[in-house]
Symmetry: C2
């Protein structure tokens, strides 16, 4: 597959990262996501990384950059489903994702973005 | 990645298929999904196949089987995001997914399962 699907749920967009990222895929995702934020007037972006067991500095930066792009388009990003080992690695890499909010799972992330109780 | 993440949203589970399926991955998905339906008391399953450009008889059967497993666990399955070319192929393969409901996107699928208007 050459692109990561972006699912719309109301005013939110959900991206589930399942595959190993490489430069081209990350750029395609950022292009697609920024277009969709504008097209769908999205107010928030959920990035699910629950299937990632490991992250490297590339993916860490990619997430941070994507969140920054969303922010300038007035959409808030919440990273959900981070595994404990990934949290350890990110901080060890010096990538503490400043400005990116996190939530344990998609439900909690949706609640955070919509300001409501979990479904 | 060796497994496909299953995201919970209220009483629904969302599975986004992005990678090429093979026997082991399909079996892992079915194991995981049936366990999660029971554990989370899920009433519905959304299978997003928007990133699949092609399907073969293996994946067609896998979707049909997964839906049948969910049904005997009292959860309804909705396949969302099917591309037109995939619809053509499925019917040509003789796999018209009997008993599986479909919706154009995740929002419409959620509305179908929860009996509410789209978010």
């Amino acid at each position: 597959m050459e692109r990561i699907p972006i699912l719309r749920m109301g005013k939110l967009l959900l991206v589930t990262i399942q595959v190993d990222m490489h430069d081209r895929l990350a750029m395609t995702l950022q292009d697609d996501l920024t277009s969709r934020i504008v097209k769908d007037s999205a107010k928030g972006v959920l990035i699910d990384i629950s299937s990632l067991d490991v992250v490297d500095s590339f993916i860490g930066r990619m997430i941070g950059d994507t969140a920054a792009m969303a922010r300038v388009l007035d959409a808030e990003t919440v990273v959900v489903g981070m595994q404990p080992s990934v949290a350890i690695t990110l901080v060890e890499l010096g990538l503490a994702l400043p400005g990116v909010r996190t939530a344990l799972n998609v439900e909690k992330g949706m609640a955070l973005l919509t300001g409501t109780e979990p479904l």
